[in-house]
Point group: C2
Chain length 349, copies 2
DNA sequence: TTGTAGGCGTTATCAA
DNA sequence: TTGATAACGCCTACAA
């Protein structure tokens, strides 16, 4: 508890906002009746309801949520926690997640707030926010191994849902995820099935479960197909990272005829690198990505990829969170979406 | 006041969070002393302070912000309002804005929350959130003509700063912006100065001041140079939109030798379209963008553009908001950054 | 330096 | 159907 520079607290100027008291007086009813009229209006006479409604419009009354949440123990908002440096906050993946979560909240009176806690930054500020009763629950996305969100949130009792399997397998916290393992396996099967034999891998960050699971599945698939895994390089899920990784790959093994990249963005980088080296996709090198971002490589070539219904997954996470908040005592189980391969031009001629 | 589906409110399970009362008891002091120890510790004996600190650690105490804000009238957080459909939420511009605002809050105990209110969606939910005392102030970015944020927020008294000049010129609300008019003018001067005479325009959305100001400045610059404005098409600030606009442009006037696009993303689309038509940049057509996003066109050609220090601008907006919240009564003036042209390969040979 | 008492705006309980 | 009244958790004069 040592706020750095909490600014002094001179109350804001201007007329104070109207309170329930003011509203009740204007409507000629008691505070309690006004309160009931505001919240659904059960056991309120039509006359009283009308009077209160009129007063609301006249005064521009809006309930003070701090006061309300103090007694209801509900904040009326949920957080989407993004433990990424702000630069990466804005990639298509997060756009999809935001879209999906918003969809799940559409018929609700719950407001979504995005919380970004930079790694290395004082994430305890975010934690205080989360635990201080500002939100009724949290969805954590893009969780990294060392960020500690699982333990931290798990111990607070704040309803929490992860998008993407969290690291701590013992954790009881529910999550929604794609079957990343199976996705990797499908990629291996596909490339093996089309006759590719010298395969390289551009894996994702080692500290994210999605990357690890995709890699594990891919290796398992290769094994089942009787193929040896070729060189493996880890990228950061970005296009530039994918290109760089691909160059390393071909530096180690110039004869590769197939590459699996753990994200479409990286796959795009791989395509660039292959072409930059004067080779063709898919004639010389087949490329398979992951996510089905419907990105096109520069000259209109489409990427073979593993479908990843991110919007749907995020939406499901939102619904799960709502159930966790309403907490009927039920144990919420993880939800895992099946993986599906989408074959396009980058891997078959 | 008619919450759609406010879920029933069964309090969350589990042990209740420790309260100040619990803390004080554990520390063997009174509530007030505990409170003082928590908030800066003035007039607290070292012994009492130590006892309270120990109890905090032991209990994992975190103040309930709803209760606190009820009495202090401070929420400890500010909102960044983004009135865009969630799909567009995640472009580089917003990434820069988030980065900048976060920087301004770095030494503060204030948490930044992102609020996205889709156009067409019930933005009153966002408004209730804003007015309900959940935040101490708001920064509005990407404000559109019809979204009503100026009037709405202006009337609430909530400290508000706009990034980008708001529509309502009468508004007293402070804002931070680039000198977009001058930026457009610089672009015109530059193209005229390099001998281009048949100029096309890819303007931005008509309902955003940045787009309008850039266009006005550009037209003014052309006038000063004695050039007639060629065809004008409005795009949506995206690459695809820019390409489409460029094709229309060349459909109307095939002999264009220069194009000004009101954003780098659109300029990129213009470059694509020009090349797609078998012409060269800059030999046949010079292209000038806006924003200095340091994007490269596919084959490594760099864009001439108008610099737009978005991070810096957003940071300034955050600082302005903090001052508005601390409100020493001073009238906060708009801040306008000078425009600067960055000449690169897309406009000169 | 400490503790007591009152109030912030709302909802919930319980008589009337 | 209505209206007192008591919390909710915290801060802050004020008095000790």
């Amino acid at each position: 508890m040592n706020p750095k520079t909490t600014p002094a607290a001179p109350a804001r100027e201007g007329r104070p906002l109207p309170t329930l008291e003011d509203l009740a007086r204007a409507a000629g009813v008691s505070r309690s009746t006004a309160s009931r009229a505001i919240n659904g209006g059960s056991r309120v006479s039509p006359a009283a309801q009308a009077a209160v409604d009129a007063a609301i419009a006249e005064l521009g009354y809006i309930p003070n949520r701090a006061a309300r949440s103090l007694v209801t123990r509900r904040a009326g908002s949920v957080a989407l926690v993004i433990p990424e440096p702000d630069a990466r906050v804005m990639d298509p993946y997060f756009a999809a997640v935001v879209t999906g979560v918003n969809q799940s909240l559409r018929d609700t009176d719950i407001q979504l707030v995005l919380l970004m806690s930079r790694a290395g930054d004082d994430s305890s500020r975010t934690l205080r926010y989360l635990r201080g009763g500002h939100v009724d629950g949290a969805i954590v996305v893009s969780h990294h191994r060392a960020d500690g969100w699982v333990e931290t949130l798990g111990s607070t009792g704040l309803p929490t849902v992860f998008i993407g399997r969290p690291w701590d397998r013992k954790s009881e916290l529910p999550f929604v995820d794609l079957d990343n393992f199976e996705g990797g396996r499908l990629a291996a099967r596909h490339l093996a099935g089309t006759g590719r034999t010298h395969l390289g891998t551009v894996a994702g960050p080692k500290d994210m479960t999605a990357a690890v699971d995709r890699l594990d599945g891919w290796l398992q698939g290769l094994k089942e197909a009787g193929l040896k895994p070729g060189p493996i390089v880890h990228g950061d899920f970005t296009t530039a990272g994918g290109a760089e990784a691909a160059r390393k790959l071909f530096g180690q093994a110039p004869a590769l005829d197939g590459v699996f990249a753990a994200s479409d963005l990286m796959a795009l980088g791989v395509v660039e690198a292959v072409r930059g080296a004067g080779k063709g996709v898919p004639e010389d090198v087949a490329v398979v990505g992951f996510d089905n971002h419907s990105i096109q490589a520069p000259n209109g070539m489409d990427l073979t990829t593993v479908a990843h219904p991110m919007v749907e997954i995020a939406k499901n996470a939102g619904q799960l969170l709502i159930r966790a908040i309403e907490n009927t005592g039920e144990q919420l189980e993880p939800v895992i979406y099946p993986a599906e391969l989408v074959v396009r031009g980058s891997s078959v001629m």
